[in-house]
Every structure is written in structure tokens, then in C-alpha cells.
């Protein structure tokens, strides 16, 4: 029983991270048809923003020493600023380009950010200690669950709830959904293209910062490639969820997280190193059965 509970929490917390990542990708894809492959590098950038530039292995913590009520808003701001700057400096120029061109631009941007970090911090992973108390276990229904897992799940649920309220109940949220549905039509009704896109980038950047904080707290290291794996899975989640569907991306993020944990727990010991192969295999099966994604919105298809 407690073992099962452990698996459930593992699945939920890993799924939370993937869902937050998928959300950051899906929001931008929605308004711009851009798959932002630099998203993983946004995550790493936010983590490194807590450290002074140095090439030593021992990290010199800078903003990371701030109390959490200052650090969290500061880092969210860093993420939003980086993301917004990327749109203004890079992606705006590709607004009317085809999706493949935009995707390649995002690869290039990711490369630039990664190499900037490399220059400033060298390639060595750095240890970073954030909120050590979060790694202590807490007792939930008899099972001992790391506090961070519980916090991750709660943060994700809060973010999802806040975003749902924003998208469903506010004017900007309505405009963003309209723009994601049919961008040109939304503009012809007075929705400001730049405003909606900047807002999507800002939110996506804040999500990257939140993921960075969780990853850094969890692993205790800052590594230049730390966002790459998550970005890949988040991208897959947006595809499985049905590109363009924000709830689909979130659900698929949780599904992939769940599948990873379940494979980890149930595969024979020797096969566990190939866990990701099983996960990706499951992804292929899903896409063979439903190439349009699991949650492609039915209503989006127009009746003739």
C-alpha cells in the first residue's frame, strides 16, 4: 500500500514537471505555431541566473541566497524577460515564416543561450543548495514522501488553476484562446497580435523559471543541459496531447510522467535501464493509433 502510494506520488510529481514544460510549449505554439526548442535552455538559464558567473566547480551563489519570497518572483521575472526578449529579438522576425523555419530559429536561439552559459560558467555542473528542508520526507497516509514532491504537485495544481482562470475568465485569456484558434480572424476583430504573443512568451518564460527552480532544488546541481531532456518530453507531450490543445498538453505531460514511473516500478530489473525506450515505444503506439493526438479538440474541426 505505502509502496503504491509512493509510486502515485512519484508519477504525479514527475508528471507535474512534464505538464509544466508542455504548457510552456503549448501556449506559444497556440498563438504562433512555433515549437520553441529553446525552452529547455530557458530553464537552464533561469537556474544559472542564481549563480555568479565563474568557471569554478563550487558555485558562488548570488540570487540563490535570497529569501524565497524574493527569489521566486525575481526568477519568474528573469524567465519572463528572457522569453519576451527572445520573441522581440528573434521570433518576431520569423512571424510570417513557415513553422519549420521558426523551429530552426528556436534551435539556433537555444544554441546561443547554451553557449553563452558555457562561456560564463564553463561546462562543469555546479552544486547549488536551495531549501534543503524540502528534501526531508513528510508522512502522507503512512508513506514517506519527499517534501519537494508534495510541493511540486501543489505548485503545479496552483499554476494550472490560475492559468485556467486566466484563460477562461479574463479578457486577455479570451483573446489568447481566440488567437490560438484563428490568429488572423482574431486580429480582424481587434485583438493585438503583439500583445497576445508577448503575453504567451512571458507566461511560458515564467513556467520555465518555475521548472528550473524545482529541478535545481531536486538535483542540487546546475547543469547547462539540465532542461534538454525535459524539453524533449514536454514537446512529445504537446504532440501526443494534440498540438494546439493546452489541456491536452497538460494531460499528456502527466500521462508520460505516469508511464515513466510505472515502467520504472514494474519492468524487470535488467530492463529498467531501457525505461525510456519503453516510454517512447508507448508514444509511438499512441501516435500510430491516434496521429492527431489524444485530445485534439473535436470542436476545432469545422462542420461543413
Amino acid at each position: 500500500m505505502t509502496e503504491l502510494l509512493q509510486i502515485v506520488f512519484d508519477a504525479l510529481s514527475l508528471g507535474s514537471l512534464y505538464a509544466l514544460g508542455a504548457l510552456g510549449i503549448a501556449l506559444i505554439f497556440g498563438v504562433m505555431r512555433l515549437v520553441n526548442f529553446a525552452h529547455g535552455d530557458f530553464i537552464a538559464f533561469c537556474v544559472f541566473a542564481m549563480l555568479w558567473p565563474s568557471i569554478n566547480a563550487a558555485a558562488i551563489v548570488f540570487a540563490g541566497n535570497l529569501p524565497f519570497y524574493l527569489l521566486i518572483p525575481l526568477l519568474l521575472l528573469v524567465g519572463a524577460a528572457l522569453s519576451v526578449l527572445s520573441e522581440v529579438i528573434v521570433f518576431r522576425r520569423f512571424r510570417n515564416a513557415n513553422p519549420a523555419t521558426m523551429m530552426i530559429a528556436s534551435f539556433a536561439l537555444g544554441f546561443a543561450i547554451r553557449n553563452f552559459l558555457l562561456m560564463m560558467y564553463s561546462s562543469r555542473p555546479k552544486s547549488i543548495t536551495l531549501w534543503p528542508r524540502l528534501s526531508l520526507p513528510v508522512e502522507v497516509l503512512g508513506a514517506r514522501i519527499p517534501m519537494l514532491q508534495v510541493v511540486t504537485i501543489i505548485i503545479t495544481l496552483v499554476v494550472l488553476a490560475a492559468l485556467t482562470v486566466f484563460l477562461k475568465r479574463t479578457r486577455y485569456g479570451l483573446e489568447m484562446r481566440a488567437a490560438a484558434d484563428n490568429f488572423t480572424m482574431a486580429r480582424m476583430l481587434g485583438v493585438r497580435a503583439n500583445g497576445v504573443i508577448l503575453l504567451a512568451f512571458a507566461i511560458s518564460g515564467m513556467l520555465a523559471a518555475a521548472i528550473g527552480l524545482i529541478l535545481a532544488t531536486n538535483s542540487g546541481t546546475a547543469d547547462i543541459g539540465m532542461g534538454a531532456n525535459l524539453m524533449l518530453i514536454a514537446f512529445i507531450a504537446t504532440v501526443i496531447g494534440g498540438l494546439g490543445s493546452v489541456p491536452g498538453a497538460v494531460a499528456a505531460g502527466f500521462l508520460i510522467g505516469g508511464a515513466s514511473v510505472v515502467f520504472q516500478a514494474t519492468l524487470p530489473h535488467d530492463a529498467r535501464v531501457f525505461r525510456d525506450a519503453f516510454v517512447y515505444g508507448a508514444v509511438i503506439v499512441v501516435l500510430l493509433v491516434r496521429p492527431q493526438g489524444l485530445f485534439a479538440p473535436k470542436s476545432a474541426k469545422q462542420r461543413v
Binding site: 484562446r177 476583430l189 481587434g190 470542436s299 476545432a300
Partner: protein
């Protein structure tokens, strides 16, 4: 008073010239029908006014203000509302949300609420299903929704691209009945692309005939329908 002035506008898609120096004006309160065979440039004309496709030369002014090269959202804010071909409802949004997007740029919330009620009054079917996803509506219902949505923007000039395309005759009658009434009620200026010239004649107003990106004939809809050149333009006889 001139509400829309299009002056010598040319539009190209790559090497294809879609509009060749179009000049036209619409006075406030007027109805102008644009007709012509497929590929004449009718939709391109509307899209050029809306700012969706760029004019490579010429100028467009709405109510005296130059809008050439302005983005679509700015042109919409000048009071131009386009109902494009193909009934572009936001399929993932509810009917009411679709209507609210139309009203997004208006500040007077009380007037917006009144207008919403009047759209629901005009299209009772929309009121019944206001919380249903717009993508689930039939073609005719979607046409009602996009007209209602354009009205929510409180436009001074409303352009509609082929309102009758793909609709049953009974529904087309209904759509035109509503347009005529709205025009009278709100002093709405209308620019309607319509293949059916008899429909234009029944509604009344001015009509232009386009062919090959040019205006080839212009006059009162009632007179134009009798004109032999109208048929010639469609079937490609004559000197064109």
C-alpha cells in the same frame, strides 16, 4: 460622406497580380455589392482593406484616415469589420465567447451587454446554445454567429464575403433579411461580395463587377442585372 476610399490599389501574390489598380469609394450608409467570376479578386479586395494582405501600391482610407499598410487590428479599431469567406468561427470557444471576442476592443461595457442581448434577440438560436462550442454549429448557424460577432465590434463598415456560399436558399433569405434590417436600424454601411447578382438586385444598392483584378462595370444593382455585359464578364465573351 465617404467612409471608405480605395485608391489605385494593386495586390500581388508572388508573381500573380490579384488586384490591378482598384479604385472605389463607399459613402456612409451605402450598400455596395462586389460581384464577378471566381478569381476576379473579390476576396483579395476585402482582405486588402482589412490589412490581411498588403497592397504593393495605392492607398486605402477609412473615414478620411489613411490605413494603408496598417495591421488588421488597427483597421478593425477604425470601425471596419470583415466577415471572411469560410465562416471563421473560433471553433474551440463557446458561442458567447466568440461574440465577446468581437466586443473586445470596446470600452463601454454596458453598451456591449445591450448589444449582446440584441444579437441574441436577432439570432435566438445563438442564445439557446450560448455555452456550446461554436465548432459544433451547422454552416448556417456559423454564418449567423460570424455576422453577430462582427456586429459586436460595433463597426461602421461591415464587409461580408459570400454570405450565401454553401447555405440553403431559405437560410440565405434569412441572412439577407437580417442584413437589410440591421442596415436600417444601425445606419450600417455594407460591402458584400456576392456571386448571385439577383440577390444583389433584390437588396438594392450599388454594384461593381470585377474581373481579372479590375473593376469592369459599375452601377445600380437593378440596372446592372439587365446589362448584357454582366453575363459576358462571367462567361468570358466580349473583348476581355
Amino acid at each position: 460622406m465617404t467612409l471608405l476610399a480605395v485608391n489605385d490599389v494593386t495586390v500581388r501574390y508572388g508573381r500573380l497580380t490579384a488586384l490591378r489598380g482598384i479604385t472605389l469609394t463607399i459613402a456612409e450608409g451605402e450598400v455596395l455589392f462586389v460581384t464577378g467570376p471566381n478569381g476576379a479578386g473579390k476576396s483579395t479586395l476585402l482582405n486588402a482593406i482589412a490589412g490581411v494582405v498588403p497592397a504593393i501600391s495605392g492607398s486605402i482610407a477609412i473615414d478620411g484616415a489613411e490605413v494603408t499598410g496598417a495591421p488588421p487590428e488597427q483597421i478593425a479599431r477604425r470601425g471596419f469589420s470583415l466577415v471572411p469567406e469560410g465562416r471563421n468561427v473560433f471553433g474551440t470557444l463557446t458561442i458567447e465567447e466568440n461574440l465577446n471576442v468581437g466586443a473586445g476592443m470596446r470600452a463601454d461595457k454596458q453598451q456591449v451587454a445591450r448589444d449582446l442581448e440584441s444579437v441574441y434577440h436577432e439570432f435566438p438560436m445563438l442564445a439557446e446554445r450560448r455555452h456550446a462550442a461554436a465548432g459544433m454549429l451547422s454552416g448556417g448557424q456559423q454564418q449567423m454567429l460570424v455576422i453577430g460577432r462582427a456586429l459586436m465590434a460595433a463597426p461602421r463598415l461591415m464587409a461580408i464575403d459570400e454570405p450565401s456560399l454553401g447555405l440553403a436558399p431559405k437560410i440565405i433569405d434569412q441572412v439577407y433579411e437580417i442584413l437589410v434590417r440591421l442596415r436600417a436600424q444601425r445606419r450600417l454601411t455594407l460591402l458584400i461580395v456576392e456571386q448571385s447578382s439577383t440577390r444583389a438586385m433584390m437588396t438594392g444598392g450599388r454594384m461593381i463587377l470585377m474581373r481579372g483584378g479590375r473593376i469592369v462595370l459599375e452601377g445600380e444593382a437593378g440596372d446592372m442585372v439587365k446589362d448584357e455585359r454582366l453575363k459576358q464578364a462571367y462567361f468570358g465573351f466580349g473583348d476581355h
